[in-house]
């Protein structure tokens, strides 16, 4: 099972001829992903790592049956590339690129939701269903197939925690990096909904950080809708206040965006919150063992 991506995902890499696109295409192929097409306007007819390159997404889909896209194009061109993929109903569309203008993201997310396709990112590491499909830039060896779902706002922290799980013998169903921008496509509650329905997933790790109000929102959602055990970790307890913006979401919901506020909301919803990443495997084992 797993969520969003699996052995049936046929990946299109947009921006495949650039350094990043090329490097990660190789790495995704090595991880066993089915990368079937690349797109770079003007480079149609080439091959990268044995993958055929097309000028347009439409052509690539027609020729290869690609059904999901990952974007490595430079920030100023992301909006148009994303629109092109939305038009072709690619799902999910993973936007790795950082520094995408937030007004471009606004338009991408608006169009995607109208066309009912899911966007992950921007500024995210992508996602991986270990030993089935990697659609992202994470180090493959850190992950192992299993029954824990991970959803996170941070890339490196996801690797850290997945690695600790793997070393403790806890494999993962799917690990999703949502991205760190103020506006991102897929969020906790979307991932939680998918994990709840997924047969392979038996427990969920939610990795959060300061800013915004997403974790608080997730806390009440878990309490009402999620029956599987969830363990949370929130980074940034010691972060200085007033240093970063991005609290607009928090203003609206009346929270401060602080780590304390998030930890409190999660604990009040009955969700264990680890103090350190290294405590997560033990908490998971207790929760799963008790079942």
């Amino acid at each position: 099972m797993a969520v969003l991506v699996d052995e049936n995902t046929k990946i299109l890499v947009q921006g495949i001829t650039g350094n990043q696109g090329r490097f990660h295409t190789r790495s995704m192929l090595q991880a066993g992903s089915k990368v079937v097409a690349g797109v770079t306007p003007g480079k149609g007819g080439m091959e990268v790592e044995g993958v055929p390159v097309f000028d347009t997404v439409e052509e690539a889909v027609r020729e290869t049956g690609a059904n999901a896209s990952i974007l490595f194009v430079p920030a100023p061109f992301v909006k148009d590339a994303a629109f092109e993929n939305i038009e072709e109903k690619m799902d999910p569309i993973v936007i790795i690129t950082e520094h995408v203008p937030v007004h471009d993201t606004l338009e991408i997310l608006t169009l995607a939701s109208a066309q009912q396709v899911r966007v992950i990112g921007p500024n995210c590491p992508g996602l991986i269903s270990p030993e089935k499909c990697k659609m992202g830039i994470m180090p493959t060896h850190v992950f192992k197939k299993g029954n824990i779902g991970i959803v996170s706002r941070s890339g490196t922290l996801t690797y850290e925690i997945a690695f600790q799980l793997t070393r403790s013998g806890l494999g993962q169903s799917t690990c999703i990096g949502m991205g760190g921008d103020p506006l991102v496509g897929l969020v906790y509650i979307d991932a939680l909904t998918l994990f709840e329905k997924d047969e392979q997933t038996q427990a969920i790790v939610l990795i959060g950080e300061i800013g915004g109000a997403m974790e608080e929102e997730a806390a009440s959602f878990i309490k009402e809708k999620i029956s599987k055990p969830v363990v949370a970790y929130i980074a940034g307890r010691t972060a200085p206040p007033e240093k970063k913006m991005g609290h607009a979401g928090a203003i609206v919901s009346g929270t401060s965006g602080s780590a304390e506020g998030k930890i409190k909301a999660l604990r009040e919803a009955g969700i264990p919150v680890a103090d350190l990443p290294s405590q997560i495997p033990q908490i998971l084992k207790e929760l799963l063992g008790g079942k």
Partner: protein, 361 residues
């Protein structure tokens, strides 16, 4: 304020002073309001806003403002504006926000921070999600004007003004466009003060927009080098790759009973040169007594990081955690050069905390 003017949002007559001596160049009629220009909230409470009635007061209060710091940020500019006869004060903003994407906020309780209004009297906040397309229409402003209790001609005036503020947000790539307070004066509505947050990522299409002024000298320099740096008040410097893991590393230092001196994110795939620059930046802070470097290498290479450390040869004790791509090589390079290297993040942090204590004695 210039941007407000460009978008036909009425603002009071005013002059922006960039140095103390400019206080002599103020020729506006008294009374005047002096406002320290700093990019942090709550400056009214910190004494950053002063009312003056004559030349002597202008000099005295003006000098005070130029010599003060607000929440640690020195005041470099002071805005002098004609004091207005204020009947009422409102709040008005547009912002990009995850849940609603585009949000329109207004409140009859202006002149205070909106966070405070949200916490104490949420019923005084009017909010509406705005569709990306077609965007904000003046009729939506009229509904809000009724909520604010505006009547007659002021209803259209408010909705026009809101429409202009929305255009400013969209056309200039702002994450926030805020007028607070929006004052009702005998001359109509006037934006007495405001705040915009420009999206740095859109700089390529708005080279005219100013850069963030709330950064300290060192933070600005770090930004130019391409690393994210935030100064803190402790003595253990923290360096890593990836914001989430660095945040988590700060928490770990704190958990072990020490205080972090900074946040420094080298980003993914850092070169040995980046490592040297990062070390140089954190060590410019004289409080630093030890360094905790936490590297979980995905696209980053441990050997590259290790080379950067050895080349820089920090004079302050350093403890490094390394795992991931080329881990063995990285640890070997460090150990050969006599540095502490670990594969667990907790061991490395513990060591950094110990090294710092040794230096205390």
């Amino acid at each position: 304020m210039e941007l407000f003017e460009k978008y036909s949002i009425p603002v009071p007559e005013r002059i922006l002073l960039e140095k103390e001596e400019d206080l002599d160049k103020v020729f506006l009629p008294f009374p005047l309001v002096l406002k320290a220009q700093v990019a942090v909230g709550g400056r009214g409470k910190s004494g950053g806003i002063q009312l003056v009635h004559n030349e002597a007061e202008l000099k005295e209060k003006g000098q005070q403002l130029f010599r003060m710091q607000i929440k640690g940020i020195p005041v470099k500019k002071v805005l002098v504006a004609r004091a207005q006869e204020i009947e009422r004060e409102f709040y008005l903003s547009f912002l990009l926000e995850r849940k609603h994407l585009l949000l329109f906020l207004t409140s009859p309780s202006g002149g205070v921070e909106i966070e405070e209004v949200a916490a104490k009297t949420p019923e005084l906040i009017y909010q509406e999600k705005i569709e990306t397309w077609p965007g904000f229409s003046p009729f939506q402003g009229k509904k809000a004007a009724k909520f604010l209790g505006l009547k007659g001609e002021l209803i259209s005036q408010f909705s026009r003004l809101a429409f202009n503020l929305f255009s400013l947000l969209r056309e200039k790539d702002l994450q926030l466009a805020e007028i607070n307070p929006l004052a009702l004066t005998p001359r109509g509505l006037l934006a007495l003060d405001g705040k915009i947050i420009f999206d740095d990522n859109a700089y390529f299409r708005h080279p005219e927009m100013p850069s963030d002024e709330s950064l300290t000298e060192l933070e600005r320099e770090a930004k130019e080098v391409g690393v994210a740096y935030v100064e803190m008040d402790g003595d253990v410097a923290v360096i890593g790759c990836g914001a989430g893991l660095v945040l988590s590393s700060l928490d770990l230092v704190n958990y072990l009973g020490a205080r972090p001196a900074n946040f420094l994110d080298l980003g993914g795939g850092a070169s040995s040169e980046m490592v040297r620059k990062g070390l140089e930046i954190v060590l410019r802070n004289p409080r630093v007594r030890s360094i905790f470097m936490n590297i979980f290498a995905g696209i980053t290479r441990c050997d590259e990081i290790a080379r950067g450390i050895v080349e820089f040869a920090p004079k302050i004790p350093i403890s490094v955690r390394m795992t991931g791509t080329n881990e063995e090589e990285g640890i070997r390079i460090l150990k050969e050069a006599g540095y502490q290297a670990f594969s667990s993040m907790e061991e490395a942090a513990q060591q950094a905390v110990l090294l710092r204590e040794k230096r205390c004695n």
